[in-house]
Symmetry: C2
Subunit: 138 residues, 2 copies
Amino acid sequence: MYSIGELSKRTKVKVPTIRYYEEMGLLPEAERTSGNQRRYDKAGLERLSFIRHARDLGFSIEAISSLIDLQDHPDRSCEAATDIATSQLEEVRAKIKRLRALEKELSRISKGCNGEGVSGDCYVLASLADHNLCDREH
Amino acid sequence: MYSIGELSKRTKVKVPTIRYYEEMGLLPEAERTSGNQRRYDKAGLERLSFIRHARDLGFSIEAISSLIDLQDHPDRSCEAATDIATSQLEEVRAKIKRLRALEKELSRISKGCNGEGVSGDCYVLASLADHNLCDREH
DNA sequence: CTTGAATCTCTAGTCACTAGAGACATTACA
DNA sequence: TGTAATGTCTCTAGTGACTAGAGATTCAAG
């Protein structure tokens, strides 16, 4: 049995975050010692690792809840899990696309100015003030 | 003079968001009609456009505050503005890098499963449960 | 002058945590 | 067994950048 601190070390999820996950229903209510401290077994460790991994991949708490539901009912269709992963992938791709456009403009903006001179003539500020200076829509 | 609603239409910033920006000090306190409604002039429109543009580029409210300070004091060095833009660019690049890794893993995960069958054997769930199935660290 | 849309302020909610206070539990060592 | 240090408990409140809703007031058009 692990204390919440040990679990935290093993999963790299901070202690208050573990309690938060319990409150949100991602983790079942933990067993307690006579002194009211949480104790976890291997199943708890595995579930928290699952959550951690999914959070790292950008899944929302809600999405993870659905995935856990599916885990807890192995007779249900797998399609739902694939749907969740696929829509997550789409979101990630959209974010990348958007960030690439930003990167392009930001690099143009910060290259345009040599950092010398006064801000009254600053190309960075001018670029931000006037959208027409942008190469493209964003 | 524009009402808050007109300003909202022109800048595509929602009305409550404009009020929020005023409260946060990004916009100066607007003039008011005798009936206490906000009225904006061209300067207000321009400043809000600046804010909108910078937010689109992912600058935080705090960073925008600093940029506005620089705008309001055109005698100050331009270096600070360039620093802010450059660090924003670095953040964007770091995000892209991370998202690319996620994309790779998510696409592997969601391709691995054909969506048929039951979730007891689902590859998506297995992948999320077991970090060792990942190709690489993330 | 009336009607309906726009605006006002205020509070509270969102997401996924994070921080801090003050009390209690456990563990390590003498 | 005593004690000190560390860990854990619950609770409230804060973060960033808004968003939603209530209930009251004001504006513009006909």
